[in-house]
Amino acid sequence: MSQVDTHSHTDHHDDHHDHGPAKGLKRWLFTTNHKDIGTMYLIFSLVMFMTGGAMAMVIRAELFQPGLQLVEPGFFNQMTTMHALIMVFGAVMPATVGLANWMIPIMIGAPDMALPRMNNWSFWILPFAFTMLLSTLIMPGGGPAGGWTMYPPLIQQTGVALPFLIFAIHMMGVSSIMGAINIVVTIMNMRAPGMTLLKMPLFVWTWLITAYLLVAVMPVLAGGVTMLLTDQYFGTTFFNAAGGGDPVMFQHIFWFFGHPEVYIMILPAFGIISEIIPTFSRKPLFGYESMVYATASIAFLSFIVWAHHMFTVGMPIAGQLFFMFSTMMIAVPTGVKVFNWISTMWRGAMTFETPMLFSLAFVFLFTIGGFSGLMLAIAPADFQYHDTYFVVAHFHYVLVPGAVFAIMAGVYYWLPKWTGNMYDETLGKVHFWMSTIFVNVLFFPQHFLGLAGMPRRIPDYATQFADFNMISSIGGFGFGLSQLLFIYVVIKCAKGGVKATDKVWDEPRGLEWTLSSPPPYHSFSVAPEIK
């Protein structure tokens, strides 16, 4: 079989050139190998996921009942701010970059990433950036407490933590931009012969578009926070009305970054789901080309909808109408994607292994998040929803059972390929059902809280919100505990287990299944032919 051929060929090459991994710590510090770097990104992301998760536990514990029991309001605000920054920049983004590092070279038939040393650097910036960010919690005055959106003038009231926050964001931005450049260059230059753009797996496509989004908007965020820095320390007044500046301008800058950012987190997730559903439906992906065009449309639209985060700041009607209509438009390409996934399943022969379960939950629950997003687009109704728990429910639906479930689906899907061992299917399913049940107990009641009038980012609330908050907190604790099981399953799989075949699943499509499990240290030393 052709798979076996490729495999032996690659091994043969390795024997000659002796490019195996270095031993011990050096392997990880100095590695330029896309798999090692991908692994480090994924482990880092898991550590950050648990760190940000621990902060979420503090938040849900304080909100378990009305009255303040555990923390001061100021510390509560630090928790909400840090939870968001860590989950967005530390957990979700590095996880998708880790998957990109592992899978893109393999999926396009390349030996490694195009810029391997930069790859090493873009990873190793992250632990320093997050150490700096986390260290603000023990600084005098505490960590940043103005929300991850960092709106001035409030963020200017941060103590000594402010420059550390800003430099940490600069470093994360540098890391993301380098990672994105690497991915673009790899995809553009390193595809195997015959792998035309429209033959690339959808995960590669979604990452290519995501990488362009990253290159476009991370500098905007960097510019915005730099202006905060100079306002604070160098006497400028970009955002200070008293000096002729404009506090609303920061919000425009932030959301010009922030809205594409949400697609940076979700587009790779779309790609993962588009890989998994065909495999377990035993049927090709429906509407491949329309998937690509839908992804590109979503990316384009993401640049012209930012002010829907700001309907209450007092924009002219024409502006509000523009942003309302453009936001509603996003429902069209997103709908195309959901319909394509369902059509892929239709008349397939489905089986329900853990990756497929997570993917199906993704389609259901991400769509619920999409619906609440459509509701939020309706400007007059948004005046009621804005800055309430309805918004909290909305973005957690698209980010947790959306992006995070897709990442977990991807991990279960490719873990046997990475480690050479099958994960424990029973435990995987237990993890899936616990996560899915608890995530809904956690976030669904928050819709009701928001509609009934509970603002977000408050440490204490009026007594009519008590019952749903208690249910939500119980869901939160359950969801947090379920993730310990995930860690156990991953470690158990990495240590050993039933050996995985090269194909792992029934009839998966894609070059990654032509390599051995685990793949050789250098993926494709001789490019495969794509017909």
Binding site: L68, G287, M329, S343, T351, L374, A379, P380, L451, P455
Partner: protein, 281 residues
């Protein structure tokens, strides 16, 4: 008609879910946006229910197809997978239908928005200023102005481990010392600004939420049709005590309001000493 059915289904399903946890407290479980007491708030509620209805209808169809597929098209039933992967007709249909639905939604939404933003012909104007962490109301047509701060009882109970049960405090966190007082049926224009950081003035029953921004003067308006006490909160993170600067609006009958005006202008709250005293708090 379909709205009420949806509403009922919605509440029933949730009541069922809720009853598993707290059978006694069902009456308190607010699930939905309040209809409110202004023309705008009713219109916003209508839009909310309309878009919710559209989403639920689409969800039933989409999830329905998906669930059918999950039950029918599984390997364990011995089906042979089809191999189709493209249908231009289907793809055009499911691009065009959503566009039509969206256009149908956009029209009432735009109309509603224009109504919300129409601040002309106001009967009275109140300047609302956000402070860390209280509100100030200045009646621009009269010589009245005062601060509005979280009431003492809530303020005591909300301290960490205060020993006071929040349930024993009436309107916990939603009561102030000096509420905004307006007459029923009058179009009240609000001019919103802030003295320090961003705040947002929000009362769900009036369907008004507008940011108060230093250096900006934002406009909003409401015309309450029913006398009563309406409560809301600051809706833009404004620092440590963001959760503790409620908004309370008393909508009075015209004659009561006039009596209140006389009372204010003659003594008490608005006098300079009192303002100075409030400032010290």
């Amino acid at each position: 008609m379909s709205r009420t059915i949806l509403n009922r289904l919605h509440s029933a399903a949730l009541a069922l879910f809720a009853s598993a946890f707290a059978p006694a407290a069902l009456a308190d479980w607010a699930l939905n946006m309040p209809v409110g007491v202004t023309e705008v708030s009713k219109e916003v509620y209508g839009l909310h229910m309309l878009i919710l209805g559209v989403c639920v209808a689409i969800a039933i169809v989409v999830f329905g197809v998906m669930i059918v597929s999950i039950f029918l098209h599984r390997k364990s039933r011995g089906v042979e997978p089809a191999q189709f992967y493209h249908s231009t007709k289907a793809e055009i249909i499911w691009t065009v239908i959503p566009i039509i639905i969206l256009i149908a939604m956009a029209v009432p939404a735009a109309e509603g928005l224009i109504k919300v933003e129409d601040t002309r012909n106001a009967d009275m104007t109140v300047k609302v200023t956000g402070y860390q962490w209280r509100w100030r109301y200045d009646y621009l047509d009269h010589d009245i102005g005062f601060y509005s701060t979280l009431d003492r009882e809530s303020n005591q109970a909300r301290r960490v481990n205060s020993g006071t049960d929040p349930f024993s405090v009436e309107n916990y966190l939603l009561e102030v010392d000096h509420p905004l007082v307006v007459p029923v049926g009058a179009k009240v224009r609000l001019l919103l600004t802030a003295a320090d950081v961003l705040h947002a003035w929000w009362v769900p029953d009036l369907a008004v939420k507008k940011d108060a921004i230093p250096g900006y003067i934002n406009e909003a308006w409401f015309k309450a049709d029913v006398p009563g006490i309406y409560r809301g909160q600051c809706a833009e993170l404004c620092g440590r005590d963001h959760g503790f600067m409620p908004v309370v609006v008393h909508v009075l009958e015209r004659d009561e309001y006039d009596a209140w005006l006389v009372e204010q202008t003659t003594d008490k709250v608005a006098s300079p000493e009192n303002v100075a005293a409030t400032r010290k708090l």
